[in-house]
């Protein structure tokens, strides 16, 4: 095995889903090679069904049925995953949901309330998730990820189905939570504008069987990342267009 220069090396030769009686095997990923350096924020974009979530599941070791390998520089990397739906336990309170990400007796349990205040959920820490709005549940899912002080943060369209204002708030919150931490982020999104607003690098995947068709650094300075004009200009530079490169999918993705 070659020595690792990167925090995370992904080499996926082939990933297919087996036949399920109704249809034959479906090849999803093919020849994906990605070196992710420590502290980078990599946005992964691509059309629906191209295997972005599958890629994250492979990195998270939820899916081990593929040809290739995924190697972390650290022997025991701390990994957190923010899913496309918040995936909170409805029968546990917000603070219990966050605390459950930690092993029992962990000293960080004392910081749960403080983190909930930081993400704007201080008032509803004792509420059950079903009483919260989607935006608040997404905040709780973020808190659950960050209580772990993760080395790697996997995010699968974490701000989808929110109106643009709420999504912007959450992007700002994510930026705040990441700043000053050595966290490496893999961020899957349809929204190429969002990718540029957040990422230091954008990787674009083709339709299935998926391979990488674009891999560019985002050179936008930190202070311009909230400016729509600067984001649009960078988007034009990278994707050569003013509209989303992968197009809005569904009514919930209008705006920006």
């Amino acid at each position: 095995m070659a020595p690792l220069n990167a925090a995370l090396e992904i080499r996926i030769e082939r990933k297919a889903f087996p036949a399920d009686g109704r249809r034959g095997p479906v090849q999803v990923l093919k020849d994906i090679a990605l070196s992710v350096s420590a502290g980078s924020f990599v946005a992964i974009t691509g059309p629906s069904g191209c295997g972005k979530t599958t890629l994250l599941n492979i990195v998270a070791r939820l899916d081990r049925d593929f040809e290739g390998r995924v190697a972390f520089a650290a022997s025991e990397p701390h990994l957190a995953y923010v899913f496309q739906t918040p995936r909170l336990l409805p029968w546990r309170t917000v603070s219990e949901n966050v605390a459950l990400a930690l092993p029992p007796g962990d000293p960080r349990l004392a910081r749960v309330q403080e983190l909930l205040v930081r993400v704007g959920l201080g008032e509803v820490a004792a509420a059950h998730p079903e009483r919260l709005s989607l935006g608040m549940r997404r905040r709780a899912a973020l808190a659950r990820a960050f209580i772990l002080d993760p080395d790697f943060l996997l995010m699968d369209e974490p701000f989808v189905s929110l109106d643009e204002a709420a999504a912007q708030d959450l992007r700002a919150l994510l930026r705040k939570l990441c700043s000053g931490r050595p966290v490496t982020v893999l961020f899957v999104t349809h929204n190429t504008m969002e990718a540029i607003a957040l990422a230091t690098r954008v990787v674009r995947l083709s339709a299935a069987p998926t391979s990488i068709i674009k891999d560019v650094a985002v050179t936008l300075p930190e202070e311009l990342r909230t400016s729509p004009d600067a984001i649009a200009a960078e988007h034009r530079r990278i994707f050569g267009t003013d509209t989303w490169a992968d197009g809005p999918h569904g009514a919930d993705r209008d705006g920006s």
């Binding site: 599941n57 995936r87 336990l89 546990r92 990400a101 079903e130 009483r131």
Partner: protein, 260 residues
């Protein structure tokens, strides 16, 4: 969960609701009393006569003795059915091939009349306590297994993945992720299970035991003592309601607190 109940709770206080319940029971007693007075027959004693029979049986200790024996049988066969039925249901829900194989067995046992099971148990094991409890348990196990199988099949894969990523481990996954998802199925099975077990236990007692409410009802039947039959029926209803209100409803409220 019954939405109607929560709406009623908000509109009327618990005292108002209790008032309505008492009024409706009093109305029923009044109609009964009227009918008994008009018919004036030994075969329809009025509420006053039945109450005095009830008090006599209570004083003599017979009521407690027979009711206790029935309760003990219900408890034993119910625990047996819950444990075995849950284990079978979980196995069937998780292992598809086992499920395919045993599905026809389950259908067979689900449709086997309770009386057949009871008679066969008494024939094979004799008129014993073990036979009685086994017969009741066998009647209930398939229902429990089917309900718990549904619960196991509906377990969320999303939450299982979440628990894996966040390293919950086996025990915490069971306690915080799996059991809360099974709880509503379990409660439904307990509810319908108790209702069924109560009734089957009486039949088992009637056919082959020398104590219990079922046995006592049979004695009263031989003597055409309708007052005694009604006294035991009322005692029985009271106990079932006490278990419902005192144990099952609080449990259900506790399990459903998180719902909107």
């Amino acid at each position: 969960m019954p939405q109607g109940d929560t709406i009623l709770d908000n509109d009327a206080g618990p005292l108002v609701r209790l008032g309505w319940t008492l009024a409706s029971i009093a109305a029923l007693a009044a109609i009964w009393h009227l009918a008994a007075t008009v018919l004036h027959s030994r075969l329809l004693p009025g509420p006053i006569e039945v109450t005095s029979t009830f008090i006599n049986e209570l004083k003599a200790g017979a009521l407690a003795w027979h009711l206790g024996a029935t309760l003990a049988r219900v408890a034993a066969s119910f625990v047996l059915a819950v444990v075995i039925g849950t284990a079978i249901g979980l196995a069937l829900g998780r292992l598809r091939q086992v499920d395919h194989f045993f599905d026809s067995w389950l259908i067979l046992f689900l449709n086997l009349p309770a009386l057949v099971v009871i008679i066969l148990c008494y024939v094979w094991f004799g008129l014993t306590e073990v036979a009685a409890i086994t017969a009741v348990a066998i009647n209930k196990i398939p229902n429990f297994a089917v309900t718990m199988r549904e619960g196991t099949r509906s377990l969320s894969k999303d939450l299982a993945e979440m628990a894996e990523v966040y390293r919950f481990g086996r025990w915490r996954t069971l306690r915080h992720v799996i059991l809360p998802q099974l709880a509503p199925f379990f409660m439904a099975a307990v509810r319908s299970g108790l209702a069924l077990v109560w009734k089957i236990v009486l039949v088992v007692e009637l056919l082959g035991r020398s104590n219990g409410v079922g046995y006592q009802l049979n004695v009263a039947f031989q003597l055409f003592d309708v007052s005694l039959i009604l006294a035991y029926a009322i005692a029985f209803i009271l106990v079932v309601q006490m278990i419902e209100v005192g144990i099952l409803q609080p449990l259900e409220v506790r399990a459903g607190r998180w719902r909107r």
